[in-house]
Symmetry: C2
Subunit: 242 residues, 2 copies
DNA sequence: CACTATAGGACACTGAGTGCCACCCGAGAA
DNA sequence: TTCTCGGGTGGCACTCAGTGTCCTATAGTG
């Protein structure tokens, strides 16, 4: 009787099998890691606690470590998309800053989980390394973007890498401070401020660039596809006048 | 006949059993990884190629990935020792720069191996992550040292982390360029130059500090133990006058 | 209602990493 | 010489992460 089951879903919110398998696995993993340690927890236990089969765990996570982290692969794709979608008129450093704020946002979205995860990660070397590897991928993406938008000639290439490292380091610094504080309020503001302070020191490096704005009384030309939303056009104009 | 055996060692350089097991394991691992890939190589194969038992491999390396890397644990201890042994009179940034040069030195000491290792590491995610984790440990050590020597109050703490990240990033940048170039000549000089360029930009951050040299006509006091070598005293005086 | 795609389950298998015990060998000490 | 002590090693045996393969069940579609 399929119709009955559908009704059941709608009434109780229960979905036969595949509701948020991923979420329950993450929750189970996090609790178990906190309770009895990472090495002492087997994937079987996590799967059992989440009410799924062991094999299913590895359909959602490549390795055991992945279980408790936000979906960095997806987030990284999002970040790259955001960077590449950024208008050539907005300063590259600004785009990178926004990207960093986006990443921070995923942590801020669920402080409970983030704090718990921090507690575990702090104590388990294997998890720390995993997290470091993840952040280093963002760093690579930032550096690549800067090279693409701002030139990849050799004195500058290194600077871009340093800037990317600085942004990621600052992000992590602010994030950790916030997590240690229990995850209350306004992380994003703190990161904005901190990044401003850091990039203020680093920006001058790239200011020989200082975008040749060719002349004073220039004409602003906006080209957009017919279906471009108005707000996006407005945004472009805004950026161009910055 | 112990004396005979001793002679044997001295004549042939051969040591009965524990000749550099570690080195042969590393060599075997590197060659096998290059020839047939990391995942396709089992620890059994490495051990067999090195002429030891599987169990012995894990006595020398915690994990399979460690096999091809320089002894980062030992190097890190050395770095920390060097930092802590640095005179309080030499600028902290200088000590960190020297430490980075020390690390680079271990790569430069055996270019053949370093280049080979680079080839493998470039292609195997697992090895890349391992390397990133290793470098991040140096970064932590640098930041901790700067905090200790230069104050750990909050605006500065972040800057120290950023500087540590910048130094490590620069080190890696120079190292990778050198490795891609086949590992010929003068890496250390290149790193010195690059670090100079980078820290020149970052140094001003900390210059509000500008070491309260308390007064103009100060007295230089050198305290040393009776057995301190003269060159070390001279070095201290040199640093104090810098 | 049947059909297909997709998520999950069952099972077997490889290989990394560990604990344990036995061994060998050089260095003293009796 | 003989005993013993300690460090590096070999040999199992065991756990468990991670993968390949095949099968099942369910949701969505026409």
């Amino acid at each position: 009787m399929p119709p009955e089951k559908v009704l059941l879903h709608e009434r109780t919110g229960y979905v036969p099998a595949r509701r948020d398998v991923r979420r329950s696995l993450t929750a189970a993993a996090l609790d178990l890691f906190l309770a009895q340690g990472f090495d002492e927890t087997t994937v079987d236990q996590i799967a059992e606690a989440a009410g799924v089969a062991r094999r299913t765990f590895f359909r959602h996570f490549k390795v055991k470590e992945d279980a408790i982290f936000p979906d960095h692969d997806a987030m990284l794709r999002e970040i790259v998309a955001h960077l590449e979608a950024a208008s050539p008129l907005v300063p590259p450093l600004t785009a990178v800053t926004e990207a960093a704020l986006m990443v921070l946002g995923t942590y801020a979205a669920d402080p409970e989980t983030s704090v718990k995860r921090y507690e575990v990660t702090r104590r388990v070397p294997s998890l720390r390394e995993h997290e470091i590897a993840a952040t280093s991928r963002y760093q690579r993406a930032f550096a690549a973007f800067l090279n693409e938008r701002d030139g990849a000639a050799e004195p500058r290439r290194l600077r871009h890498e340093v800037i990317a490292a600085a942004v990621v380091t600052t992000h992590n610094h602010v994030l950790r401070a916030w997590l240690r504080g229990g995850g209350t309020d306004d992380v994003r503001d703190r990161l904005s401020e901190a990044l401003y302070g850091i990039l203020e020191g680093l920006g001058p490096w790239l200011d020989d660039r200082d975008r040749p704005r060719d002349g004073e009384d220039d004409v602003l030309v906006v080209v957009a596809r017919r279906d471009t939303p108005l707000w996006k056009i407005a945004q472009e104009i805004e950026a161009a006048r910055g």
